[in-house]
Point group: C2
Chain length 286, copies 2
């Protein structure tokens, strides 16, 4: 494994992927690899090298919470079907201690969830102090799938952008670092990935005939994403759009965004809450 690729190579990545003023999703090439000059091999090697780093940060965040800190991290992952959300879970999030991670996949709302306002199930899945929460899909479906398929009145989904921004502002104010990632896949690459699922009996279970129907709404989805990304990329909780036609790049990018977020969060080892020297003596005699 090459040790030559340095973290420095991907340091500007967050800046390149952040959704800012004048952002246009249509201008992002899903096959590009912004902020990283190496190829697949170097990218995979770097991902690998930094697995422990991510686990170490999570431990430090947890350690801080044992002394009363309320800080925590929330990773939101959005993307069209087959965009690689599952791979992010297994290959990036999996590097952290499972006890320190709270991962939730948001599916079509259940009857109970539907009886509550749309943020209810989201609030129930937020991470506790010292934890890393991970959302596979999220409250953004309520301005994506819901908007595309007119599942509620337009007046209702139109009001949700402001509600989401206020909700996320509160999260940040209360000590949550929010990292929002859209895995941006091309329509052609999605077709290739769905085709693969139909070629392999061990992937049949991942395919749903509804996936093809959804492809008919591709442009509507891109429009809904464009609006959600620009209206809800705030200073407190910016959106990052990660080109996702190359799985290795998407994983490396999300890992980098998480490492950056931890670095900014900068959790602290808590001081000993006991007399270290006295404990050393007691222990020696035990």
């Amino acid at each position: 494994m090459s040790k030559k690729t340095k973290v420095a190579d991907v340091h500007s990545l967050a800046d390149e992927l952040r959704v800012g003023k004048g952002f246009r999703l249509a201008d992002v090439d899903p096959g590009s690899t912004p902020g990283f000059d190496g190829g697949k091999k170097a990218g995979a090697a770097l991902l690998w090298e930094r697995l422990d780093e991510l686990g170490d940060w999570q431990e430090k965040l947890h350690a801080e919470s044992t002394a009363g800190s309320e800080r925590r991290l929330l990773l939101v992952v959005q993307g069209m079907d087959t965009a690689g959300k599952g791979g992010i879970m297994r290959h990036v999030v999996g590097a952290m201690d499972p006890e320190g991670v709270r991962a939730t996949a948001f599916k079509k709302p259940t009857d109970e969830e539907r009886r509550h306002e749309f943020l209810w199930r989201i609030r129930n899945a937020l991470p506790g102090p010292g934890r890393v929460g991970v959302f596979d899909r999220s409250h953004y479906e309520d301005v994506l799938a819901v908007r595309v398929h007119d599942l509620v009145e337009p007046a209702e989904w139109r009001g949700r952008y402001a509600i989401i921004n206020a909700f996320e502002r509160d999260l940040v104010r209360d000590g949550t670092t929010v990292v929002k990632v859209m895995l941006h896949l091309s329509r052609d690459e999605q077709k290739a990935r769905l085709t693969k699922r139909l070629d392999r009996p061990d992937k049949y279970y991942k395919y749903n005939p509804g996936d093809v129907d959804e492809r008919g709404y591709w442009d509507d989805y891109m429009e809904a994403y464009q609006v959600a990304l620009t209206r809800c990329s705030t200073t407190a909780a910016p959106w990052y759009v990660v080109p996702a036609d190359h799985k290795w790049y998407a994983r490396l990018a999300v890992q980098t965004l998480l490492l950056d977020a931890f670095e900014r969060l900068d959790p602290q080892w808590p001081p000993a809450s006991y007399d270290v020297a006295a404990e050393q003596r007691r222990l020696a005699e035990s």
Copy 2:
């Protein structure tokens, strides 16, 4: 990394570690490595090689559940402080998709938990269909710490062994494969590990003055373990005692026990619930 160490080398491991007739905890050497002839380097390499295998099994178990199967797996990890439970979480359990894993650390019961019978919080943490549940400590604390410190009347804890056996029998009958592991550490190795925590400011948070007090009850704990291991090692849900003075061995052993359990469970890829050829045509035209 050596590819020469084969799974075959560790295949008898489960048989060697299972708690059977006449088992005596005092006869198990915490520094031994039953069922594995290689050393640390070969053991770590093998652990590494099989990380994906564990993730693949978990995916298959999840896949099976999408077609209605209720089967699931529960890993219970017990051990004295510093026995390496955290390392098992990060280095073994972490190889599986976080969305497919439900990990719970059982601490001293909260006031609410205390108002319910001792299995209440356990039932609330059981994995759903297709999931892998992981308990870091468990209902066994209710016949270990509780027994050692007389936290309930003897008549009460005495009745719990039978309650636990009935509870686990029901779990197994309802489709849960139960893997129970005790990480068996020596008193001296615990001292060395606690001493290290007091030597490193980044590990202070893991140390608790109560840990030294607990060392005074070491023999009582071993006696309580002896009884729990022998009374609750059933055909349905056997106990495995894993020597834990070598961290690399303990991780390799637990990984092997999980792989064995998955192999016996033998989850099946569900057949397509749709017409594959028709979907291939529809997709091609989409």
